[in-house]
Amino acid sequence: MAALMRTKVELFYDVVSPYSWFGFEALCRYRPHWKMDLILRPVFLGGIMKEAGNRPPMMVPSKGLYMQKDLLRNAAYFGIPLKLIEDPFHVMIEKGSLRAQRFITAVAHERPEYIEGVSRELWKRIWSTGEDIVETESLHIAAKAANMEDSDILKCLKLMNDSNIKQALIKSTEDAIEYGAFGAPTVIVHSKDQPEMFFGSDRFPLIAQMLNEEWKGPLPDPIKN
């Protein structure tokens, strides 16, 4: 009897986005629980927002204030060590994350087995320890923390400025836009006849339903043999 095929699930994310971190960790945790092929797709959120005519939520002052509480509540719920950024406008808008996303794209090309770890380390820097993620040294430290070899790290740091890597990030961003994305995280579930787009880290019960799986909350039980 043929086993059921794994459903392809694409996660479009940018480490500048804290809610994307929640979605990322939840999906990574569910890899052994759900019959899915999780494909991590770093994008440039700024490009998605611009194309959609969207604005970051914190541009509405009371939304920004609420988000601070909402982020901390969700961080506790998801068991993620997120801390609020001291100067969010400077870190998220002025500095941004383009170089970080380019670096992750280079890692995706050269050493795809490290994309999860490097993404996580970059999230930890910007959204937990309040450290830089755009300087070359910052990217090096993050990759090292993910146990990448020095030589591979240097190769990726060099590659990130190549036009084909820049193009790859643009293409990934355009793919998200074509699916109808207007923000991050954007999750595409390739089940049934057509790809189904979900936005945010608060649709997992619905995503589970679409996968014919069960959502057991943000901390699913370890697989029992």
Binding site: A52, G53, V60, S62, K69, R73, E196, F199, P205, L206
Partner: protein, 227 residues
């Protein structure tokens, strides 16, 4: 031994908002499951948006397209018979819901025991049957569907334009602004002398945790049989 007090939960809502209908039904269902005092507070979402500089999500075209799918998925998940509005701009923005919210404010004052029912009927009209909710006759039909007496309905309709009612709706909206609201639904939990504001119909697991209650999904009354 004294039992713990019921937690006051204020629910700020406007029937123009579909996500709010979903949250409304959930909280009504959980009244018998959670130790809470659910206080329904009809407000004017349009006024709130103006005061906070927020815009309806459908003003971003891609958000509007996504919302269409998201609403139907959520409606199925929450078991609420929501259907897409054919001309949302006309119904939600041009016609709006100010009169409906004023009517609900009167019902809250005069016949609070019917507030839940009338709110539900108005949601059903706008977001399930695609019917009007701003004409007097529409409001009358909605109230009648909850078994309100004709005389009481007429009294409420007459009171809608009183300045006390207009002010009351304004005050409720201002209360929401003071809690930091920027949209609907806005749900305020009152715990240990502090207020905790939540936005949306997708934060119930977090609210349950905060209230030391259990989130059993959208149908708490359904008994799951163990395999």
């Amino acid at each position: 031994m004294a039992s713990s007090p019921r937690i006051k939960v204020e629910f700020f809502y406007d029937v123009v908002s579909p996500y709010t209908w979903l949250a409304f039904e959930v909280l009504c269902r959980y009244q018998s499951h959670w130790k809470m005092d659910l206080v329904l507070r009809p407000f004017y979402l349009g006024g709130l948006m103006n005061a906070t500089g927020n815009r309806p999500p459908m003003m971003v075209p891609k958000k509007g397209l996504y919302m269409h799918k998201d609403l139907l998925r959520n409606a199925a998940y929450f078991g609420v018979p929501l259907k897409a509005i054919e001309d949302p701009f006309n119904v939600m923005i041009e016609k709006g819901t100010l009169r409906a919210q004023r009517f609900l404010t009167v019902v809250a004052h005069e016949h609070p025991e019917h507030l839940e029912g009338v709110s539900r009927e108005l949601w059903r009209r706008i977001w399930s049957l695609g019917e009007d909710i701003v004409e007097d006759e529409s409001l009358h039909l909605a109230a009648k569907a909850t078994n309100m007496e004709d005389a009481d309905i007429q009294k409420c309709l007459n009171m809608m334009n009183d300045s006390t009612i207009k002010l009351s709706l304004k005050k409720t909206t201002e209360d929401a602004v003071e809690y930091g609201a920027f949209g609907a639904p806005t749900i305020v939990l009152h715990l240990n002398g502090r207020s905790e504001m939540f936005f949306g119909s997708d934060r119930f697991p977090l609210m349950a945790e905060m209230m030391n209650e259990k989130w059993k999904g959208p149908f708490p009354d359904m008994i799951k049989s163990s395999l």
